[in-house]
């Protein structure tokens, strides 16, 4: 394809569509994050989210969250029909602020963990999981 003015315009439109749509789908997730943090700034370190890079079966994807000094950790799957996954609240007898579980993912998407620290600050970790077979029935 020649790089003419017309072709460049077409490519530009295509890129807008490709990048614009996922942002619309993430709006529900953004709202939930906003509700959890109250719009506070989130540090990029301080919470670890362990998830497989490729999950063959979206019905059961093992994940682990770990945040030192966290009082609460919220996990969101931004590409699911209902983005919330779980919220872990740690009590006084929790030895480490670590928990693992198994979750459902509807398709390839970003999984987000947001930790609320005891001092009131927030930290966020994101991990992209590729899903071969989605886990939401059809």
């Amino acid at each position: 394809m020649e790089l003419t003015r017309r072709n460049v315009m077409i490519m530009g439109t295509g890129a807008m569509v490709a990048f614009g749509l996922p942002m619309a789908a993430n709006a529900a997730g953004e709202d939930l994050i906003e509700a959890f943090t109250g719009g506070a700034e989130m540090a990029e370190s301080g919470v670890t989210l362990t998830a497989p890079e490729i999950a063959e079966n979206g019905n059961t994807v093992p994940i682990e969250v770990d945040a030192d000094g966290a009082s609460e950790i919220m996990v969101l799957a931004l590409g699911n029909p209902t983005p919330p996954v779980a919220t872990f609240k740690f009590g006084p007898l929790a030895a480490s602020h670590t928990a693992s579980t198994r979750i459902r993912l509807a398709g390839t998407q970003d999984v987000v963990a947001i930790a609320k620290m005891k001092d009131g600050s927030f930290a966020k970790a994101t991990k992209t999981v590729k899903v071969t077979i989605g886990g939401c029935g059809g």
Partner: protein, 109 residues
């Protein structure tokens, strides 16, 4: 009450005081997400466990809010501190109001 719900918990029998132990829990539950449809195209209503708590002698270890995105047979693994001899209480809360409970004793040497 959902049928065939059976909680299973793995806790060591003994620990030293103040030791951090790993607890694994699994409960058999279909965790119907409310997204699936039956063969006639009707939505199958949501039926999940929405909350799980673990306490030791009345003091909280972990309190988890579950959403439909948690897999069938919810599994949790976490760590707890054992200050003294006592009992862990595990409680699961179902959408339909039923509560499933189990407990495990642990002795400090």
């Amino acid at each position: 009450m959902a049928k065939g719900v059976r909680p299973r918990v793995k806790v060591p029998k003994t620990a030293s005081a103040g030791e951090a132990i790993t607890i694994k829990t699994l409960i058999s539950h279909k965790m119907e997400s409310g997204q699936r449809k039956d063969s006639d195209g009707n939505k199958i209503p949501r039926s999940i466990i929405n909350r799980f708590t673990c306490d030791f002698n009345g003091e909280n270890v972990i309190d988890v809010t579950l959403e439909p995105a948690i897999s069938t047979n919810p599994f949790f693994e976490f760590e707890a501190t054992v200050p003294e001899t006592g009992e862990f209480q595990f409680t699961w809360y179902d959408d339909d109001g039923s509560v499933y409970e189990t407990s495990k004793k642990i002795s400090v040497e």
